[in-house]
C-alpha cells in the first residue's frame, strides 16, 4: 500500500476521556491523517469510549475539553461520529429518540455525534483502508 496516495481511516475509540488518553491520541492521529491528505471515513465510539459523546462532560476550564474538541473536529471536516447504541444505553448516553423509546427524563448526546448500531463499525471496516483502535490502558 502506497502511503502517499490518499487513504481513508475508520477510528474506533474505546477509552473514555479523562480516564484514558485514548480520545486525545485519536484526535492527534486524526488531525495528522487529514493534514497528510487522507480522509477519516468515520469515528466509532465503543465501550467506555461512548463517554466522549456526552453533552454533560464538564472539565475544569484550564483543561482541554475533549468532547468539545472532538465535536469541533467532526464538524469542521464533516466526519460522522457514531456512538454504539448498546454501549451507550448501558452507560447512560441517549439521544432524543432513545429517550422517547425508553421513556427517560432526559437526553445527553452531544451534536454532531449520533447513536447507531455496530453495523456502522462493520461498514467503516469494509470501506476504509485502515481501521485503527484507541483503547484505554487497563
Amino acid at each position: 500500500m502506497n502511503n502517499l496516495d490518499p487513504h481513508s481511516f475508520t477510528l474506533v475509540i474505546t477509552g473514555a476521556p479523562y480516564s484514558t488518553q485514548a480520545p486525545q491520541t485519536a484526535l492527534s492521529f486524526a488531525k495528522a491523517a487529514i493534514a497528510a491528505g487522507h480522509a477519516i471515513d468515520r469515528v466509532f465510539l465503543y465501550g467506555d469510549g461512548i463517554h466522549l459523546a456526552s453533552a454533560l462532560v464538564t472539565p475544569p476550564s484550564d483543561e482541554p475539553h475533549w468532547p468539545k474538541n472532538w465535536a469541533t473536529f467532526l464538524e469542521e471536516h464533516e466526519v460522522p461520529g457514531v456512538a454504539c447504541i448498546a454501549s451507550a444505553l448501558r452507560r447512560g448516553l441517549v439521544d432524543d429518540k432513545e429517550q422517547k423509546r425508553y421513556e427517560l427524563d432526559a437526553s445527553n448526546l452531544r451534536a454532531p455525534f449520533t447513536i447507531a448500531g455496530l453495523g456502522e463499525w462493520v461498514e467503516g471496516n469494509i470501506k476504509s483502508s485502515r481501521t485503527l483502535y484507541f483503547h484505554g490502558d487497563r
Partner: protein, 93 residues
C-alpha cells in the same frame, strides 16, 4: 525499507498482560509503535526481539524518557500515520 507485516500499536505498561501478549505475537518483519504508557517499555529496557521499535515523541517527552531512546526511532503523529499505511495489518494492543 523492509516489508512490514504487522504494525503493533502498544499503549500498555510492561506490567500489563497485554504487553507480554504483544511480544508473544511479534514476527521478525513486524514493527512496534509505543504510545501512551507503552513508552515506559523503554525505561524498563524491555527486549523487543528483532522487531523495529518506534515510540511516539510526545508521549516519550511527557514521561521524561527522551534520554532512554538510543535504539528507538522517535516518530510524530504524521510518521505514525505513514507507518499504519505501510503495514499489511495493524493491531492495537
Amino acid at each position: 525499507m523492509n516489508e512490514l507485516h504487522t504494525l503493533h500499536i502498544l499503549n500498555k505498561t510492561p506490567d500489563h498482560p497485554r504487553f507480554g501478549e504483544c511480544l508473544g505475537m511479534l514476527g521478525p518483519d513486524d514493527a512496534i509503535v509505543l504510545i501512551e504508557n507503552g513508552v515506559l517499555g523503554l525505561a524498563a529496557a524491555e527486549g523487543f526481539h528483532s522487531a523495529r521499535v518506534y515510540a511516539l515523541r510526545d508521549d516519550v517527552a511527557a514521561r521524561g524518557l527522551s534520554g532512554s531512546t538510543q535504539a528507538t526511532s522517535l516518530v510524530d503523529y504524521s510518521e505514525w500515520v505513514g507507518l499504519t499505511l505501510q503495514a499489511e495489518r495493524v493491531i492495537s494492543w
